[in-house]
């Protein structure tokens, strides 16, 4: 069995005594090497989860463990070494005058020797496909390029888990696709756990598991295929149903029997092709 890397044990959180609970008695685990997506509409509590994982916030009730260690004031500095985060707005995360300075920033804070830093800058910029830009000034990059540099900076401190908190929300569709492809292949190559927090269902089809949040509680926890089949319920909690799932529904109504819930165009076309060749 895989080892639990992040564990939430009956966690409840609110911003102050007079505010409503943002998270209510939440329990779940995320394992080593796993790719999990957390989805939900604005205000469902999904971003609060990210802030609790690396100790930007602390829960009023319950306990959070990272790699077996409880998150508290004493442990946050060690925990932040293991949890890398990339946020929504790429412009709020840049500190360096050039791409390579920016990647170096996190390592400088951790006192990594110069030789090792240079090696890690090269390795990680290459991993996100940005090595050619190492001397470029950040403002010359597109939004998607900036996010890839931010990811390289986080990876350079060798975290065990990478959390993308709406990291693609400000990008155009092409930029989104690039980022998701980059992180999915990185997590596979480097044995990294990956948590992506988003409201875009189409972006999470590669995840092994999806946790759907609604009003501070887990509304569903299942594979993408299972989640896609609940389209009417998804709409009720304010999430978009992907085009391919809507079309699959209409096809069933038009008398086409699909053997499984398609996750993307290719899967649906493959089924249609098989059906067509039988007639």
């Amino acid at each position: 069995m895989r080892k639990a890397l992040i564990e939430f044990r009956n966690v409840s959180f609110r911003y102050s005594d007079t505010n409503p609970w943002v998270l209510k008695d939440l329990s779940f685990s995320i394992y080593e090497n796993e790719f999990v997506a957390i989805i939900g509409h604005n205000g469902s509590g999904k971003s609060t989860i990210a802030k609790l994982v690396n100790g930007l916030l602390f829960p009023q009730e319950g306990e959070i463990l990272i790699n077996g260690v409880t998150v508290n004031e004493e442990t946050i500095w060690d925990i932040r070494r293991e949890v890398g985060m990339v946020f929504q707005n790429p412009d709020n995360q840049f500190v360096g005058a050039t791409v390579q300075d920016d990647v170096a920033f996190g390592m400088e804070n951790r006192g990594i020797p110069r030789e090792e830093m240079i090696k890690r800058i090269e390795d990680n910029l290459a991993a996100v496909g940005m090595l050619d830009y190492r001397l470029t000034e950040p403002h010359r990059l597109s939004g998607g390029q900036k996010q890839r540099v931010a990811i390289a900076g986080v990876l350079a401190i060798y975290p065990k888990v990478l959390i993308l908190d709406e990291a693609t929300a400000m990008l155009d569709p092409r930029g989104r696709k690039e980022i998701m492809q980059t992180v999915a292949s990185l997590s596979e190559q480097q044995g990294l756990s990956l948590i992506t927090i988003t409201h875009d269902l189409a972006e999470v089809v590669q995840a092994e598991r999806i946790i759907v949040m609604n009003q501070g509680e887990i509304w569903a926890e299942a594979t993408p295929r299972e989640i896609f089949s609940k389209r009417n319920q998804l709409k009720e909690i304010g999430l978009d149903v992907p085009f391919v799932a809507i079309l699959a529904d209409e096809l069933k109504r038009a008398g086409i029997e699909l053997t499984k819930e398609p996750l993307n165009h290719e899967e649906l076309l493959e089924e249609l092709w098989t059906l067509h060749s039988k007639t």
Binding site: R174, F243, A254, H276
Partner: protein, 287 residues
């Protein structure tokens, strides 16, 4: 109001080493009452184009006509303020521009500047709140106590209270969740129809352009790359891809369908259930 660009060129930092042409010989016409989507990459000239619509910039060469207002390099309209009271611009992340102590004051700021009377401002404020679906009970609260989505609605209400005839929207749904995006776009679309506005939407979303626009204008490197109805534009998949633009997901699917099955389903902005029927006929071989 009709909007016409005639051979418009706009040059930043002219006669300096940093000289840069943001728009080049751009001509187009938007009839009054049209909903237009403007699409293009970062750097394609979209923002510069928008700034011409309410006279924040004037063309270096060529002419811009907004209704009876004319903007050229040496001829700024004397009544610029009147132009700005007719063209409302919702900039990107408009909630960053909120500054007043109360929501009522923030919404009133625009009309006050245009000399609207107090009673009229009060009436318009209530009307604008109804349009953006916020409760009047919020009026005396600070805009900074609100959630992100509510703040954006307050900022939009401030633009609506000017009662513009032309509404310019620069990526108005960026950063909102799907439900929030749909609510805001449906709201603008209803306003467009009820108030007979001319609406200009700058967007990255091909699906929104397809759903709401009568006309699409595609910019590339400061020039007009394509113009037409959504159906005409999105049928030209290869041309769009040559400038790294995507087509709406439904068009992508129909193209892949034709490649795989060897039989076309032409895109005519048909509904998904119509597409399902066409697919089912082809798959079952009953054409």
């Amino acid at each position: 109001m009709d909007i016409t660009f005639k051979n418009v060129t706009y040059i930043y930092q002219k006669n300096s080493p940093f000289e840069h042409k943001a728009l080049e010989n751009l001509s187009f016409h938007i009839p009054s009452g049209t909903f237009v989507a403007i699409i293009g990459h970062t750097g394609s000239g979209k923002s510069t184009l928008i700034q011409h619509l309410n006279g924040l910039t004037v063309p270096s060469e060529g002419e811009v006509h907004i209704g009876d207002f004319k903007l050229t390099n040496d001829e700024k309209p004397k009544n610029m303020k009147e132009l700005r009271s007719k063209v409302g611009v919702v900039f990107q992340y408009p909630e960053h521009q909120l500054f007043e102590e109360t929501i009522a004051k923030d919404i009133a700021f625009g009309p006050q500047n245009f000399g609207v009377s107090e009673e009229e401002i009060e009436r318009r404020t209530k009307e604008a709140l109804r349009q953006v679906r916020l409760s009047e009970e919020l009026l005396e609260r600070s805009p900074f106590d609100l959630s992100g989505g509510q703040k954006r609605r307050v900022a939009i209400a401030g633009v609506l209270a000017i009662q513009p005839e032309v509404l310019v929207l620069d990526e108005p749904t960026a950063g909102l969740d799907p439900r929030g995006q749909k609510e805001i776009m449906d709201m603008f679309y209803n306003l467009h129809r009820e108030a007979g506005l001319t609406t200009i939407l700058v967007t990255h979303s091909m699906d929104d352009a397809l759903k709401y626009a009568d006309q699409i204008l595609i910019l590339n490197k400061g020039t007009k790359f394509m113009e037409g109805t959504p159906i005409d534009v999105f049928r030209q998949k290869e041309a769009l891809q040559s400038v790294q633009l995507d087509v709406p997901e439904v068009v992508q699917f129909l193209t892949s369908f034709e490649e795989k099955m060897g039989k076309p389903i032409n895109f005519s902005n048909q509904s998904i259930d119509e597409i399902a029927t066409s697919i089912s006929e082809i798959v079952k071989g009953v054409e």
